[in-house]
Amino acid sequence: MPRLSAWFVRSALIHLTLGFTFGGLMLWNKGLPLHPALWRLLPAHIEFLLVGWTVQLALGVAFWILPRFYSSRGNTKPAWLAFFLINGGVWLAGMGAALGAPAPVILLGRVLEAGAALAFAIHAWPRVKPLSPEVKP
């Protein structure tokens, strides 16, 4: 597994752990109330599991297994950029909403997430290709 994929997957596993912890606390609180403030974790629970876990894992695995150019994965800078943008975005949008941060903070988080999507698409686009050269009839 290339270094960037390992980073994506490790970060995804961390977000899975945190997202499950937030969800577990809220579900426990629904059954046996602990503190009403725990409901504020809902946006972080959703953001961490949908984007931080599922999407980030998909990006890491895609970077690993998409077709290569001989042994090269092409221009990897946008993919690295996507890694930093998605993690910054998830924390700003998820924890920002959970901690009651002002709306521009959550907006900035979503901008970073959208930037991550664009950066990863720029990296991955040329790698979506046939495995061998096409033979013209």
Partner: protein, 139 residues
């Protein structure tokens, strides 16, 4: 495909169908005037989909395809993988019963079952992470 993966993927497929049927039921409630119990199925629907289908499918495939842990234990601890399976599914099934039940008739017993469901699913997640983390290796 190892038996752990086959079990996870087939269970995930069952949840996929059940989740979408549950979603259909939730959408049908105002149209067909279904009982209030169905309102309590909304969070269950999301979690049947995201935990039962998406996450469980990922877990099954990751167990199969991720880099080997060790030559003699290529996929890590099988006991931990089975523990993950048992905890996640038992927790999710408890939620499927207890959450709608608590919505229509709040009772301490449903509350305890929900708390137990939370604990089981959380431990299932931790078991998966513990077994997978050492297999995420750079090469």
């Amino acid at each position: 495909m190892p038996i752990v993966t086959r079990t996870f993927v087939k269970t995930a497929l069952v949840y996929f169908v059940v989740a979408l049927l549950t979603g259909m039921l939730v959408a049908a409630r105002p149209v067909l005037e279904l009982p209030p119990l169905v309102i309590g199925l909304t969070p269950v629907y999301f979690h049947l989909f995201m935990v039962g289908w998406v996450t469980q499918l990922i877990i099954g495939i990751a167990y199969w395809m991720f880099p080997k842990y060790r030559r003699d234990m290529p996929r890590g601890y099988d006991s931990l993988a089975w523990t993950t399976y048992a905890l996640l599914n038992l927790g999710l099934l408890l939620r499927l019963v207890a959450e709608p039940a608590q919505t229509v008739s709040p009772a301490p017993s449903w509350g305890w079952l929900l708390a137990l469901s939370a604990l089981l699913q959380w431990l299932g997640g931790l078991a998966f992470v513990a077994n997978t983390w050492p297999r995420v290796k750079e090469r």
